[in-house]
């Protein structure tokens, strides 16, 4: 594994202090290469969401080290100063519900990120249309999010996550509301996009339908990760 998409070393996260302290993450270690999609599974309360929030730079870990796209973002108490810019430029998010901005049309939902990054409106919209075409939703470019089906909304949210060409995408239960066919389609798209855009993708999931499709899986239990080789069933 040459380049680094995501590397997490001995990551810890403790909530609270003293007797009431809870160690949500005790020793998390993960590596995801660019272009790779790995699954993160675990029971409720195992620390999946906490890990995602640490990786998403919305909560600060208590210790350990995180590297994204070759850049260290956290190292035992030190963190990069501009977390907002990090989230905007280096991390894409795909949620369980697509959470598209309801008052923006499909194109502008995707173009918003490049615009926030300082791209011109025209440039941002051109990039958005390219991504929508790659995800096969370009025919709905002018539609409002409420006019899209669940699968279309999820594809638009993937396009949004890719809009700033981030080295990392964090997908939080992206197939939960979808039926088997659409769920597998979303995973297929994530795999295609990972390869096409050289992006490291972590998919947090409970979805039995898609778990067999991952070549590598991380189990998280009691705040510790265990790597497994997945079935890598063909999509």
């Amino acid at each position: 594994m040459g380049q680094i998409g995501i590397r997490i070393e001995h990551l810890r996260k403790r909530y609270g202090e003293g007797d009431t302290a809870v160690d949500a993450l005790k020793d998390v270690n993960m590596t995801v290469a660019p272009g790779e999609v790995v699954g993160l599974i675990g029971p409720s309360g195992s620390g999946k969401s906490t890990l995602l929030k640490c990786l998403g730079a919305v909560i600060e870990p208590s210790g350990g080290r995180m590297t994204i796209g070759g850049e260290t973002i956290y190292d035992d108490g030190w963190k990069i100063p501009d977390l907002r810019a990090l989230r905007r430029d280096s991390i894409g998010f795909v949620f369980q519900s697509p959470y598209l901005i309801p008052f923006l049309d499909v194109t502008d939902n995707v173009a918003l990120l490049p615009m926030l990054a300082g791209r011109s409106n025209a440039e941002a919209r051109t990039r958005a249309r390219e991504l929508l075409k790659a995800l096969d939703v370009d025919h709905r470019a002018g539609a409002q999010p409420s006019e899209l089906s669940g699968g279309e909304q999820q594809r638009v949210s993937i396009a949004r996550a890719l809009a700033n060409r981030p080295p990392v995408i964090l997908a939080d239960e992206p197939t939960a509301p979808l039926d088997s066919e659409r769920a597998l389609a979303v995973v297929r798209i994530l795999n295609q996009m990972a390869v096409q855009y050289h992006t490291a993708i972590i998919v947090v999931t409970h979805d039995e339908k898609i778990i067999p499709t991952f070549k590598r899986l991380y189990h998280i239990r009691d705040g510790r990760t265990h790597e497994e080789v997945g079935e890598g069933r063909s999509l």
Binding site: L52, R88, Y99, F103, L116
Partner: protein, 408 residues
């Protein structure tokens, strides 16, 4: 960068427009209240302008004739005319009353309310200060008695017969913007008629007074022929007026004329500036305070409405705001979105309010003067109120944790 606020407004335009209309009606009421105050001030100034006087001479120790009652003998005008600097002076009376239309069968009963008009009856001497400045129809009064000139807002028409106290008058002329400081339209009648209307007692009172005087041994002394008749004659007529309107020669300082009148004639005299001070600062001061209170309350209610609407709209977008923050939107972009929405709501409200006030002002019974300056001040106030009202929603939005977008 696209306008997030503009897109949100377009997306839920019906909610914005309906809320804006509601807010606009409130702003319209606010602008109208300001217009009512301006109208009162303008009425007061119109009263002074239309009187054509430079100086008002009234009863000593009073602030008459508009703010307080004033009574002085009608021959005092001669001594005022003799003062240096006085060009013209004339007696006037003012009496606010219900003026009734008369019909073939006689006047409607006083106080019946269905055919009478609240008006200020002005007694004046034709051709002298106090005469209506201009007519919009008909002619000036030419007869000594029983002719009237009325302001068009009385609703009287040329040739119509009206009753003031015991006598009927014919409306021979119509004028405009001749109103009392209270906004009542004026009816002008000859001074002698007005004195009678104001001071003459009814027949029963005269009979009773005569009997009372005759029964008083000090006024009905045996052996003094003619004394009782003289006393009764003096009781039966009244030679008083309310004020003397004075015009000074051009270049003459009105205060220089007023000072000797105060000192030597045992009367009070007010210049134009002093009378304006009495009318604007004193007579309508309570009304002005009342209106100010309403304006403050309406401003608070408007702010509360904008704050509530923007707050609830923001609460409805908490998840979207969390997503926006998670994907790297600056706090100031989110705050700007909420502020722009509040200002947009305010601007919609202001336009609706201004249009509404412009349409309904003419049908108000009192004069409503909508000044452009007030509209500009209103717009500034709306902008400030909306900006302040949005702060609560902005605080909520800025506290939203981007982690809320990630489940678990």
């Amino acid at each position: 960068m696209i306008s997030l606020a503009g897109r949100d407004i377009l997306h839920s335009w019906s909610k914005f427009v309906l809320t804006g209309i509601g807010l606009g009606l409130l702003i319209g009421v606010t602008l109208t209240m300001a217009g009512v105050y301006r109208g009162m001030v303008d009425d007061a100034r119109a009263l002074l302008n239309n009187s054509g006087a430079d100086l008002w001479v009234v009863q000593q120790d009073t602030q008459g004739p508009y703010a307080e009652s004033s009574s002085l003998r009608d021959d005092a005008v001669r001594s005022v005319l003799g003062q240096p600097g006085v060009a013209r002076a004339a007696n006037v009376t003012y009496l606010t009353m219900q003026v009734r239309r008369t019909s073939e069968g006689g006047a409607a009963p006083a106080g019946s309310g269905d055919d009478d008009v609240r008006a200020m009856v002005v007694g004046f001497e034709p051709g002298q200060p106090g005469e209506p400045a201009y007519l919009v129809a008909g002619r000036h009064i030419t007869r000594s008695h029983y002719e009237a000139v009325a302001d068009v807002r009385t609703g009287f028409t040329l040739g119509e017969r009206i009753r003031i106290r015991r006598h009927d008058y014919t409306v021979v002329g119509l004028t405009r913007r001749m109103v009392s400081s209270g906004g009542d339209p004026m009816v002008f009648i000859p001074l002698k008629d007005a004195q009678e209307a104001q001071f003459l007692k009814d027949n029963d009172a005269i009979v009773n007074d005569r009997a009372r005087t005759a029964a008083n041994p000090s006024l009905n002394r045996p052996g003094v022929p003619g004394l009782l008749e003289a006393i009764q004659a003096s009781q039966a007529n009244n030679r008083n007026v309310n004020a003397i309107l004075v015009q000074v020669w051009p270049g003459t300082d009105a205060e220089a004329v007023a000072e000797p009148v105060r000192r030597w004639k045992h009367l009070e005299a007010f210049t134009r500036e002093q009378m304006e001070e009495i009318l604007v600062a004193k007579l309508i001061a309570t009304s002005a305070k009342q209106i100010s209170m309403f304006l403050v309350i309406l401003a608070i209610v408007s702010a509360a409405i904008v704050a509530f609407i923007i707050y609830t709209m923001t609460l409805g977008k908490i998840r979207e705001i969390a997503v926006l923050k998670l994907i790297g939107t600056r706090n100031r972009t989110i705050a700007g979105m909420i502020l722009q929405q509040a200002l947009g709501l305010g601007l919609i409200g202001f336009v609706v309010g201004k249009v509404a006030a412009t349409f309904w002002a003419p049908i108000f019974p009192k004069y409503v003067l909508l000044e452009p300056g007030d509209a500009v001040r209103g717009l500034v106030a709306v902008v400030v109120i909306c900006a302040l009202a949005s702060t609560l929603a902005i605080r909520i939005a800025l506290k939203v944790d981007p982690a809320a977008a990630i489940g678990g």
